[in-house]
Protein backbone atom coordinates (compact mmCIF):
# COMPACT_ATOMS: atom_id res chain seq x y z
CA UNK A 1 0.00 0.00 0.00
CA UNK A 2 2.74 2.38 1.13
CA UNK A 3 4.74 1.35 -1.92
CA UNK A 4 1.77 1.94 -4.17
CA UNK A 5 1.24 5.43 -2.85
CA UNK A 6 4.92 6.22 -3.24
CA UNK A 7 4.85 5.09 -6.82
CA UNK A 8 1.75 7.15 -7.50
CA UNK A 9 3.42 10.25 -6.13
CA UNK A 10 6.60 9.55 -7.99
CA UNK A 11 4.62 9.23 -11.19
CA UNK A 12 2.88 12.50 -10.44
CA UNK A 13 6.24 14.26 -10.02
CA UNK A 14 7.57 12.88 -13.29
CA UNK A 15 4.30 13.69 -15.02
CA UNK A 16 4.19 17.30 -13.83
CA UNK A 17 7.78 17.90 -14.77
CA UNK A 18 7.08 16.40 -18.17
CA UNK A 19 4.06 18.65 -18.69
CA UNK A 20 5.98 21.78 -17.62
CA UNK A 21 8.94 21.08 -19.82
CA UNK A 22 6.79 20.02 -22.76
CA UNK A 23 4.64 23.16 -22.62
CA UNK A 24 7.62 25.43 -22.39
CA UNK A 25 9.48 23.62 -25.15
CA UNK A 26 6.42 23.89 -27.36
CA UNK A 27 6.15 27.63 -26.76
CA UNK A 28 9.78 28.39 -27.49
CA UNK A 29 9.77 25.91 -30.36
CA UNK A 30 6.67 27.49 -31.82
CA UNK A 31 8.10 30.99 -31.63
CA UNK A 32 11.30 29.88 -33.35
CA UNK A 33 9.38 27.86 -35.93
CA UNK A 34 7.07 30.73 -36.78
CA UNK A 35 9.56 33.53 -36.67
CA UNK A 36 12.79 32.05 -37.90
CA UNK A 37 12.21 32.69 -41.58
CA UNK A 38 11.87 36.42 -40.91
CA UNK A 39 15.25 36.75 -39.28
CA UNK A 40 17.82 38.35 -41.55
CA UNK A 41 20.32 41.16 -41.55
CA UNK A 42 17.73 43.52 -43.03
CA UNK A 43 15.17 42.52 -40.45
CA UNK A 44 17.46 43.42 -37.58
CA UNK A 45 19.06 46.51 -39.08
CA UNK A 46 16.37 47.72 -41.46
CA UNK A 47 13.89 50.51 -40.95
CA UNK A 48 10.27 49.60 -40.28
CA UNK A 49 7.64 50.08 -42.93
CA UNK A 50 4.00 49.76 -41.92
CA UNK A 51 3.02 48.49 -45.35
CA UNK A 52 4.38 45.10 -44.48
CA UNK A 53 7.84 43.66 -44.04
CA UNK A 54 10.48 45.98 -42.81
CA UNK A 55 12.97 45.77 -40.04
CA UNK A 56 12.93 46.32 -36.32
CA UNK A 57 15.93 48.59 -35.97
CA UNK A 58 13.88 51.54 -34.62
CA UNK A 59 12.51 49.27 -31.88
CA UNK A 60 15.96 48.00 -31.01
CA UNK A 61 17.19 51.58 -30.69
CA UNK A 62 14.17 52.52 -28.58
CA UNK A 63 14.68 49.52 -26.33
CA UNK A 64 18.36 50.39 -25.86
CA UNK A 65 17.52 54.01 -25.10
CA UNK A 66 14.98 53.09 -22.42
CA UNK A 67 17.50 50.72 -20.86
CA UNK A 68 20.27 53.32 -20.88
CA UNK A 69 18.22 56.18 -19.51
CA UNK A 70 16.43 54.28 -16.78
CA UNK A 71 19.60 52.53 -15.62
CA UNK A 72 21.57 55.77 -15.70
CA UNK A 73 19.15 57.12 -13.12
CA UNK A 74 18.16 54.03 -11.18
CA UNK A 75 21.60 52.44 -10.75
CA UNK A 76 23.35 55.21 -8.80
CA UNK A 77 20.27 56.01 -6.73
CA UNK A 78 19.53 52.36 -6.05
CA UNK A 79 23.08 51.46 -5.07
CA UNK A 80 23.46 54.47 -2.81
CA UNK A 81 20.08 53.86 -1.19
CA UNK A 82 21.13 50.29 -0.46
CA UNK A 83 24.43 51.56 0.90
CA UNK A 84 22.53 53.85 3.23
CA UNK A 85 20.23 51.09 4.42
CA UNK A 86 22.99 48.57 4.99
CA UNK A 87 26.06 50.59 5.92
CA UNK A 88 24.92 53.87 7.42
CA UNK A 89 21.45 53.72 8.88
CA UNK A 90 20.81 52.96 12.51
CA UNK A 91 18.49 50.00 12.24
CA UNK A 92 15.28 51.58 13.45
CA UNK A 93 11.90 52.89 12.35
CA UNK A 94 13.13 54.90 9.40
CA UNK A 95 15.00 51.97 7.92
CA UNK A 96 12.05 49.66 8.42
CA UNK A 97 9.88 52.21 6.66
CA UNK A 98 12.25 52.52 3.72
CA UNK A 99 12.54 48.73 3.43
CA UNK A 100 8.78 48.40 3.54
CA UNK A 101 8.46 51.02 0.83
CA UNK A 102 10.94 49.34 -1.49
CA UNK A 103 9.40 45.94 -0.94
CA UNK A 104 5.93 47.27 -1.65
CA UNK A 105 7.17 48.87 -4.84
CA UNK A 106 8.34 45.45 -6.04
CA UNK A 107 4.85 44.03 -5.72
CA UNK A 108 2.96 46.71 -7.64
CA UNK A 109 1.80 45.47 -11.06
CA UNK A 110 3.37 47.33 -13.95
CA UNK A 111 0.02 48.54 -15.27
CA UNK A 112 -0.28 50.71 -12.16
CA UNK A 113 3.15 52.18 -12.80
CA UNK A 114 1.93 52.81 -16.33
CA UNK A 115 -1.21 54.50 -15.06
CA UNK A 116 0.90 56.73 -12.85
CA UNK A 117 3.45 57.49 -15.55
CA UNK A 118 0.79 58.24 -18.15
CA UNK A 119 -0.60 61.05 -16.05
CA UNK A 120 2.36 62.18 -13.93
CA UNK A 121 5.23 62.12 -16.42
CA UNK A 122 3.30 62.35 -19.66
CA UNK A 123 0.65 64.92 -18.73
CA UNK A 124 1.61 66.78 -15.58
CA UNK A 125 5.35 67.06 -16.29
CA UNK A 126 4.39 67.62 -19.93
CA UNK A 127 6.89 65.12 -21.28
CA UNK A 128 4.28 63.72 -23.65
CA UNK A 129 4.17 60.10 -24.74
CA UNK A 130 7.89 59.71 -25.09
CA UNK A 131 10.95 57.62 -24.49
CA UNK A 132 11.88 59.83 -21.56
CA UNK A 133 8.46 59.45 -19.90
CA UNK A 134 8.68 55.68 -20.30
CA UNK A 135 12.25 55.61 -19.01
CA UNK A 136 11.35 57.58 -15.89
CA UNK A 137 8.49 55.19 -15.23
CA UNK A 138 10.86 52.26 -15.73
CA UNK A 139 13.32 53.89 -13.35
CA UNK A 140 10.79 53.58 -10.55
CA UNK A 141 10.04 50.00 -11.58
CA UNK A 142 13.67 48.83 -11.40
CA UNK A 143 14.75 50.97 -8.45
CA UNK A 144 13.55 48.46 -5.83
CA UNK A 145 15.17 45.62 -7.78
CA UNK A 146 18.53 47.34 -7.67
CA UNK A 147 18.17 48.31 -4.03
CA UNK A 148 17.30 44.75 -3.00
CA UNK A 149 20.04 43.01 -4.97
CA UNK A 150 22.64 45.53 -3.83
CA UNK A 151 21.61 45.03 -0.22
CA UNK A 152 21.94 41.28 -0.65
CA UNK A 153 25.38 41.81 -2.17
CA UNK A 154 26.46 44.08 0.69
CA UNK A 155 25.40 41.42 3.17
CA UNK A 156 27.93 39.05 1.66
CA UNK A 157 30.87 41.40 2.32
CA UNK A 158 32.55 40.12 5.50
CA UNK A 159 32.24 42.50 8.45
CA UNK A 160 35.94 41.95 9.10
CA UNK A 161 36.82 43.89 5.93
CA UNK A 162 35.00 46.92 7.27
CA UNK A 163 36.71 46.70 10.65
CA UNK A 164 40.09 46.07 9.07
CA UNK A 165 39.82 49.12 6.90
CA UNK A 166 38.34 51.48 9.50
CA UNK A 167 40.94 50.44 12.07
CA UNK A 168 43.56 51.81 9.68
CA UNK A 169 42.14 55.30 10.11
CA UNK A 170 40.11 55.39 6.93
CA UNK A 171 36.70 56.99 6.65
CA UNK A 172 33.53 55.05 5.97
CA UNK A 173 33.41 56.61 2.55
CA UNK A 174 36.94 55.42 1.71
CA UNK A 175 36.14 51.97 3.05
CA UNK A 176 33.00 51.89 0.98
CA UNK A 177 34.68 52.89 -2.26
CA UNK A 178 37.87 50.89 -1.94
CA UNK A 179 36.77 47.76 -0.10
CA UNK A 180 33.04 47.24 0.21
CA UNK A 181 31.72 48.13 -3.23
CA UNK A 182 34.42 46.19 -5.08
CA UNK A 183 33.65 43.12 -2.98
CA UNK A 184 29.93 43.49 -3.60
CA UNK A 185 30.36 44.13 -7.30
CA UNK A 186 29.32 40.70 -8.65
CA UNK A 187 26.01 40.87 -6.81
CA UNK A 188 25.41 44.45 -7.84
CA UNK A 189 26.10 43.62 -11.48
CA UNK A 190 23.68 40.72 -11.48
CA UNK A 191 21.08 43.06 -10.04
CA UNK A 192 21.67 45.47 -12.89
CA UNK A 193 21.38 42.66 -15.43
CA UNK A 194 18.16 41.53 -13.78
CA UNK A 195 16.88 45.07 -14.17
CA UNK A 196 17.75 45.09 -17.86
CA UNK A 197 15.70 41.91 -18.20
CA UNK A 198 12.81 43.58 -16.43
CA UNK A 199 12.98 46.60 -18.75
CA UNK A 200 13.20 44.47 -21.88
CA UNK A 201 10.24 42.38 -20.76
CA UNK A 202 8.08 45.29 -19.72
CA UNK A 203 5.09 46.08 -21.90
CA UNK A 204 2.07 47.62 -20.15
CA UNK A 205 3.91 50.49 -18.47
CA UNK A 206 5.75 51.38 -21.68
CA UNK A 207 2.64 51.03 -23.80
CA UNK A 208 0.93 53.72 -21.71
CA UNK A 209 3.90 56.11 -21.48
CA UNK A 210 5.90 55.83 -24.71
CA UNK A 211 3.03 55.34 -27.10
CA UNK A 212 3.13 53.29 -30.26
CA UNK A 213 4.90 55.24 -33.00
CA UNK A 214 6.70 52.74 -35.21
CA UNK A 215 9.52 54.93 -36.42
CA UNK A 216 13.08 55.73 -35.55
CA UNK A 217 13.07 58.08 -32.54
CA UNK A 218 14.67 61.43 -33.31
CA UNK A 219 15.13 62.39 -29.67
CA UNK A 220 14.30 61.14 -26.20
CA UNK A 221 11.09 63.15 -26.46
CA UNK A 222 9.89 61.06 -29.41
CA UNK A 223 7.07 58.63 -28.97
CA UNK A 224 8.32 55.16 -29.92
CA UNK A 225 7.88 51.41 -29.38
CA UNK A 226 10.18 49.00 -27.67
CA UNK A 227 10.62 45.48 -29.04
CA UNK A 228 8.17 43.97 -26.61
CA UNK A 229 5.48 46.54 -27.32
CA UNK A 230 6.13 46.02 -31.03
CA UNK A 231 5.57 42.28 -30.79
CA UNK A 232 2.33 42.98 -28.96
CA UNK A 233 1.09 45.54 -31.45
CA UNK A 234 1.84 43.59 -34.62
CA UNK A 235 -0.12 40.74 -33.10
CA UNK A 236 -3.06 42.79 -31.96
CA UNK A 237 -3.33 45.21 -34.86
CA UNK A 238 -2.15 43.19 -37.81
CA UNK A 239 -2.49 39.65 -36.52
CA UNK A 240 1.00 39.10 -37.88
CA UNK A 241 2.04 36.16 -35.71
CA UNK A 242 5.12 35.43 -37.81
CA UNK A 243 6.52 38.93 -37.36
CA UNK A 244 5.64 38.92 -33.67
CA UNK A 245 7.40 35.59 -33.27
CA UNK A 246 10.47 36.93 -35.05
CA UNK A 247 10.61 39.82 -32.59
CA UNK A 248 10.05 37.19 -29.89
CA UNK A 249 13.16 35.35 -31.06
CA UNK A 250 15.20 38.53 -30.74
CA UNK A 251 13.79 39.06 -27.25
CA UNK A 252 14.50 35.51 -26.15
CA UNK A 253 18.07 35.79 -27.43
CA UNK A 254 18.53 39.06 -25.53
CA UNK A 255 17.25 37.50 -22.31
CA UNK A 256 19.46 34.46 -22.89
CA UNK A 257 22.53 36.63 -23.36
CA UNK A 258 21.67 38.62 -20.23
CA UNK A 259 21.24 35.47 -18.18
CA UNK A 260 24.48 33.99 -19.44
CA UNK A 261 26.42 37.16 -18.74
CA UNK A 262 24.97 37.38 -15.23
CA UNK A 263 26.11 33.84 -14.53
CA UNK A 264 29.47 34.49 -16.16
CA UNK A 265 30.10 37.74 -14.30
CA UNK A 266 29.30 36.34 -10.90
CA UNK A 267 31.49 33.29 -11.51
CA UNK A 268 34.33 35.30 -12.98
CA UNK A 269 34.31 37.96 -10.30
CA UNK A 270 33.97 35.46 -7.50
CA UNK A 271 37.11 33.82 -8.78
CA UNK A 272 38.85 37.16 -9.15
CA UNK A 273 38.14 37.55 -5.47
CA UNK A 274 41.53 35.76 -5.16
Amino acid sequence: MRKFKDNMLRGLLWGSAFVSVAVLVIIVGYIFYKGFSYISFDFIFGDYSPTGGGGIFPMIVTTLLTILISLAIATPIGILAAVYLHEYAKQGRLVRMIRFATESLTGIPSIIYGLFGAVFFVAILKLGMSIIAASLTLTIIVLPVIIRTTEEALKTVPATYREGSLALGTTKLQTLIKIILPSAMPGILSGIILSIGRIVGESAAIFLTAGTVAAMPTSIFSSARTLTVHSFLVTQEAGDIGLAAAVGIVLIVIILVLNLSATYISKKLNKADY
Binding site: G164, S165, L166, A167, L168, T170, I179, S183
Partner: protein, 271 residues
Protein backbone atom coordinates in the same frame (compact mmCIF):
# COMPACT_ATOMS: atom_id res chain seq x y z
CA UNK B 1 52.14 64.16 3.66
CA UNK B 2 55.29 62.35 2.70
CA UNK B 3 57.30 64.50 5.04
CA UNK B 4 54.97 63.72 7.88
CA UNK B 5 55.44 60.02 7.49
CA UNK B 6 59.21 60.09 7.45
CA UNK B 7 59.29 62.38 10.45
CA UNK B 8 56.99 60.10 12.32
CA UNK B 9 59.35 57.21 11.73
CA UNK B 10 62.26 59.24 13.01
CA UNK B 11 60.19 59.98 16.05
CA UNK B 12 59.67 56.29 16.67
CA UNK B 13 63.30 55.35 16.37
CA UNK B 14 64.78 58.22 18.36
CA UNK B 15 62.61 57.79 21.41
CA UNK B 16 63.36 54.10 21.54
CA UNK B 17 66.85 54.97 22.74
CA UNK B 18 65.62 55.64 26.24
CA UNK B 19 65.53 52.69 28.61
CA UNK B 20 64.29 51.80 32.05
CA UNK B 21 60.98 53.38 33.08
CA UNK B 22 58.84 54.90 30.40
CA UNK B 23 56.20 57.57 30.47
CA UNK B 24 52.55 56.69 30.69
CA UNK B 25 51.19 56.36 27.18
CA UNK B 26 47.59 55.52 27.85
CA UNK B 27 45.70 56.52 30.93
CA UNK B 28 42.29 55.01 31.60
CA UNK B 29 40.12 56.52 34.33
CA UNK B 30 36.84 55.09 35.63
CA UNK B 31 35.87 53.66 32.30
CA UNK B 32 32.38 52.19 32.01
CA UNK B 33 30.89 50.82 28.83
CA UNK B 34 27.33 49.82 28.03
CA UNK B 35 25.98 47.81 25.13
CA UNK B 36 22.49 49.27 25.22
CA UNK B 37 21.24 48.42 28.70
CA UNK B 38 23.92 45.87 29.37
CA UNK B 39 27.05 47.08 31.13
CA UNK B 40 30.22 45.38 29.88
CA UNK B 41 32.97 47.39 31.62
CA UNK B 42 32.93 48.59 35.23
CA UNK B 43 35.20 51.37 36.49
CA UNK B 44 38.30 50.31 34.65
CA UNK B 45 41.46 52.15 35.72
CA UNK B 46 44.73 51.35 33.98
CA UNK B 47 47.94 53.18 33.19
CA UNK B 48 49.65 51.70 30.20
CA UNK B 49 53.33 52.50 29.81
CA UNK B 50 55.03 53.47 26.62
CA UNK B 51 57.08 50.80 24.81
CA UNK B 52 55.87 47.97 26.94
CA UNK B 53 53.77 44.97 26.15
CA UNK B 54 50.64 44.93 28.25
CA UNK B 55 48.67 41.69 28.27
CA UNK B 56 44.95 41.48 28.99
CA UNK B 57 43.85 38.10 30.33
CA UNK B 58 40.65 36.70 31.73
CA UNK B 59 37.89 34.21 30.96
CA UNK B 60 36.02 34.64 27.72
CA UNK B 61 33.24 37.23 27.82
CA UNK B 62 34.88 39.23 30.60
CA UNK B 63 35.30 42.34 28.46
CA UNK B 64 38.88 42.14 27.18
CA UNK B 65 38.01 42.82 23.55
CA UNK B 66 35.50 45.44 24.57
CA UNK B 67 38.16 47.25 26.55
CA UNK B 68 40.75 46.94 23.80
CA UNK B 69 38.34 48.40 21.29
CA UNK B 70 37.68 51.45 23.44
CA UNK B 71 41.31 52.44 22.93
CA UNK B 72 40.85 53.11 19.20
CA UNK B 73 37.10 53.70 19.45
CA UNK B 74 36.18 50.73 17.32
CA UNK B 75 33.16 50.38 19.58
CA UNK B 76 31.77 53.47 17.92
CA UNK B 77 30.79 51.22 15.03
CA UNK B 78 28.29 49.32 17.15
CA UNK B 79 24.82 50.83 17.50
CA UNK B 80 23.85 51.69 21.06
CA UNK B 81 27.28 51.67 22.72
CA UNK B 82 27.75 54.22 25.51
CA UNK B 83 31.07 55.03 27.10
CA UNK B 84 31.46 56.87 30.39
CA UNK B 85 34.85 57.79 31.80
CA UNK B 86 38.09 58.93 30.29
CA UNK B 87 40.90 57.58 28.21
CA UNK B 88 43.89 59.80 27.62
CA UNK B 89 46.51 58.90 25.06
CA UNK B 90 49.55 61.16 25.20
CA UNK B 91 47.50 63.38 27.47
CA UNK B 92 44.72 63.85 24.95
CA UNK B 93 41.21 62.74 25.79
CA UNK B 94 40.26 60.13 23.24
CA UNK B 95 36.51 60.39 23.69
CA UNK B 96 36.49 64.17 23.62
CA UNK B 97 38.47 64.49 20.44
CA UNK B 98 36.42 64.39 17.30
CA UNK B 99 39.24 63.20 15.10
CA UNK B 100 38.76 59.45 15.09
CA UNK B 101 40.82 59.14 11.93
CA UNK B 102 43.90 60.51 13.62
CA UNK B 103 43.30 58.34 16.65
CA UNK B 104 43.15 55.23 14.51
CA UNK B 105 46.23 56.11 12.53
CA UNK B 106 48.04 56.51 15.81
CA UNK B 107 46.56 53.41 17.42
CA UNK B 108 46.76 50.44 15.06
CA UNK B 109 44.91 47.18 15.49
CA UNK B 110 45.45 43.53 14.65
CA UNK B 111 42.46 41.23 14.87
CA UNK B 112 41.92 37.67 16.05
CA UNK B 113 41.65 36.32 12.53
CA UNK B 114 43.54 37.75 9.64
CA UNK B 115 41.28 40.16 7.81
CA UNK B 116 43.41 40.98 4.83
CA UNK B 117 41.57 42.44 1.89
CA UNK B 118 41.15 40.49 -1.32
CA UNK B 119 44.07 42.31 -2.93
CA UNK B 120 47.76 41.75 -3.48
CA UNK B 121 50.18 41.70 -0.55
CA UNK B 122 51.56 45.04 -1.69
CA UNK B 123 48.16 46.68 -1.96
CA UNK B 124 47.17 45.44 1.47
CA UNK B 125 50.17 47.01 3.14
CA UNK B 126 50.00 50.18 1.03
CA UNK B 127 46.25 50.54 1.64
CA UNK B 128 46.46 52.67 4.79
CA UNK B 129 49.15 55.09 3.55
CA UNK B 130 47.33 55.46 0.22
CA UNK B 131 44.15 56.37 2.05
CA UNK B 132 46.18 59.05 3.84
CA UNK B 133 46.87 60.54 0.45
CA UNK B 134 50.33 59.16 -0.30
CA UNK B 135 50.55 58.52 -4.03
CA UNK B 136 54.28 58.64 -4.71
CA UNK B 137 55.33 55.17 -5.89
CA UNK B 138 58.82 55.39 -4.44
CA UNK B 139 57.61 56.37 -1.01
CA UNK B 140 54.95 53.67 -1.06
CA UNK B 141 57.57 51.10 -2.04
CA UNK B 142 59.69 52.20 0.87
CA UNK B 143 56.83 52.06 3.33
CA UNK B 144 55.80 48.61 2.14
CA UNK B 145 59.31 47.21 2.40
CA UNK B 146 59.96 48.83 5.75
CA UNK B 147 56.64 47.56 7.14
CA UNK B 148 57.12 44.04 5.86
CA UNK B 149 60.62 43.98 7.32
CA UNK B 150 59.20 45.35 10.54
CA UNK B 151 56.78 42.45 10.59
CA UNK B 152 59.61 39.99 9.86
CA UNK B 153 57.98 38.70 6.69
CA UNK B 154 59.83 40.62 3.98
CA UNK B 155 62.07 37.72 3.03
CA UNK B 156 59.15 35.35 2.71
CA UNK B 157 57.08 37.55 0.41
CA UNK B 158 59.44 39.93 -1.35
CA UNK B 159 59.22 37.95 -4.59
CA UNK B 160 55.45 37.77 -4.65
CA UNK B 161 54.31 41.20 -3.54
CA UNK B 162 51.87 41.39 -6.44
CA UNK B 163 50.19 38.09 -5.76
CA UNK B 164 47.09 37.69 -3.65
CA UNK B 165 47.50 38.10 0.07
CA UNK B 166 44.82 35.48 0.62
CA UNK B 167 47.08 32.80 -0.84
CA UNK B 168 49.42 32.97 2.15
CA UNK B 169 49.33 30.69 5.18
CA UNK B 170 47.44 31.79 8.28
CA UNK B 171 50.60 32.74 10.15
CA UNK B 172 51.96 34.71 7.21
CA UNK B 173 48.63 36.47 6.79
CA UNK B 174 48.62 37.53 10.41
CA UNK B 175 52.10 38.97 10.07
CA UNK B 176 51.00 40.86 6.95
CA UNK B 177 48.18 42.24 9.10
CA UNK B 178 50.82 43.44 11.51
CA UNK B 179 52.78 44.95 8.62
CA UNK B 180 49.61 46.66 7.44
CA UNK B 181 49.22 48.21 10.88
CA UNK B 182 52.89 49.21 11.06
CA UNK B 183 52.63 50.94 7.69
CA UNK B 184 50.55 53.64 9.36
CA UNK B 185 53.48 54.41 11.69
CA UNK B 186 51.35 54.09 14.80
CA UNK B 187 52.57 54.63 18.36
CA UNK B 188 50.31 51.99 19.82
CA UNK B 189 49.33 48.60 18.42
CA UNK B 190 46.34 46.72 19.78
CA UNK B 191 46.16 42.97 19.25
CA UNK B 192 43.08 40.88 19.98
CA UNK B 193 44.14 37.26 20.41
CA UNK B 194 46.36 37.51 17.33
CA UNK B 195 47.63 33.94 17.57
CA UNK B 196 44.53 32.07 18.65
CA UNK B 197 43.89 30.83 15.11
CA UNK B 198 47.51 29.89 14.42
CA UNK B 199 49.55 26.72 14.74
CA UNK B 200 52.29 26.59 17.42
CA UNK B 201 55.17 27.39 15.06
CA UNK B 202 53.46 30.42 13.53
CA UNK B 203 52.47 31.47 17.04
CA UNK B 204 56.11 31.47 18.14
CA UNK B 205 57.07 33.56 15.13
CA UNK B 206 54.44 36.16 15.94
CA UNK B 207 55.49 36.20 19.60
CA UNK B 208 59.08 36.74 18.60
CA UNK B 209 57.97 39.58 16.39
CA UNK B 210 56.00 41.19 19.21
CA UNK B 211 59.03 41.08 21.46
CA UNK B 212 61.10 42.81 18.77
CA UNK B 213 58.42 45.40 18.10
CA UNK B 214 58.39 46.45 21.73
CA UNK B 215 61.30 48.79 21.17
CA UNK B 216 59.24 50.88 18.76
CA UNK B 217 55.64 50.50 19.84
CA UNK B 218 53.38 50.40 22.83
CA UNK B 219 51.59 47.09 22.52
CA UNK B 220 48.36 45.98 24.19
CA UNK B 221 47.54 42.35 23.57
CA UNK B 222 44.55 40.24 24.54
CA UNK B 223 45.45 36.61 24.98
CA UNK B 224 43.83 33.42 26.12
CA UNK B 225 47.14 31.75 26.43
CA UNK B 226 48.66 32.13 29.90
CA UNK B 227 52.14 31.04 28.80
CA UNK B 228 52.04 33.59 26.03
CA UNK B 229 51.20 36.40 28.44
CA UNK B 230 54.01 35.27 30.71
CA UNK B 231 56.50 34.99 27.83
CA UNK B 232 55.97 38.28 26.05
CA UNK B 233 54.37 40.86 28.32
CA UNK B 234 55.78 43.31 30.82
CA UNK B 235 52.48 44.09 32.50
CA UNK B 236 49.38 41.98 32.83
CA UNK B 237 45.81 42.99 33.64
CA UNK B 238 43.40 40.32 34.80
CA UNK B 239 39.78 41.02 33.81
CA UNK B 240 36.75 39.37 35.36
CA UNK B 241 33.11 40.22 34.60
CA UNK B 242 34.02 43.58 33.15
CA UNK B 243 36.27 44.65 36.00
CA UNK B 244 40.03 44.76 36.33
CA UNK B 245 40.73 42.51 39.28
CA UNK B 246 44.47 42.97 39.29
CA UNK B 247 47.03 44.85 37.24
CA UNK B 248 50.73 44.52 37.89
CA UNK B 249 54.07 43.44 36.51
CA UNK B 250 53.62 40.21 34.65
CA UNK B 251 55.97 38.25 36.90
CA UNK B 252 54.03 39.41 39.94
CA UNK B 253 50.71 38.37 38.42
CA UNK B 254 52.05 34.93 37.61
CA UNK B 255 54.10 34.30 40.75
CA UNK B 256 52.63 36.23 43.65
CA UNK B 257 49.24 37.64 42.72
CA UNK B 258 47.51 39.58 45.47
CA UNK B 259 43.99 38.56 44.60
CA UNK B 260 42.79 35.02 45.13
CA UNK B 261 40.73 35.10 41.91
CA UNK B 262 43.82 36.03 39.91
CA UNK B 263 45.71 33.15 41.43
CA UNK B 264 42.88 30.75 40.68
CA UNK B 265 42.80 31.92 37.08
CA UNK B 266 46.54 31.90 36.32
CA UNK B 267 46.98 28.51 37.91
CA UNK B 268 44.16 27.23 35.71
CA UNK B 269 41.71 26.52 38.52
CA UNK B 270 38.91 28.15 36.60
CA UNK B 271 38.06 29.90 33.34
Amino acid sequence: MTMIVSEASIFNSTTSATTDTYATKIQVNDLNLFYGEKQALFNVNLDIKEKEVTALIGPSGCGKSTFLRTLNRMNDLIDGVRVIGNIHIDGENVYESNDVIRLRTKVGMVFQKSNLFPMSIYDNVAYGPRMQGIKNKKILNEIVEESLRGAAIWDEVKDRLKSSALGLSGGQQQRICIARAIAMKPDVILMDEPTSALDPISTLKVEELITQMKKDYTIVIVTHNMQQAARISDKTAFFLNGEVVEYDDTNVIFSTPKDERTEDYVTGRFG
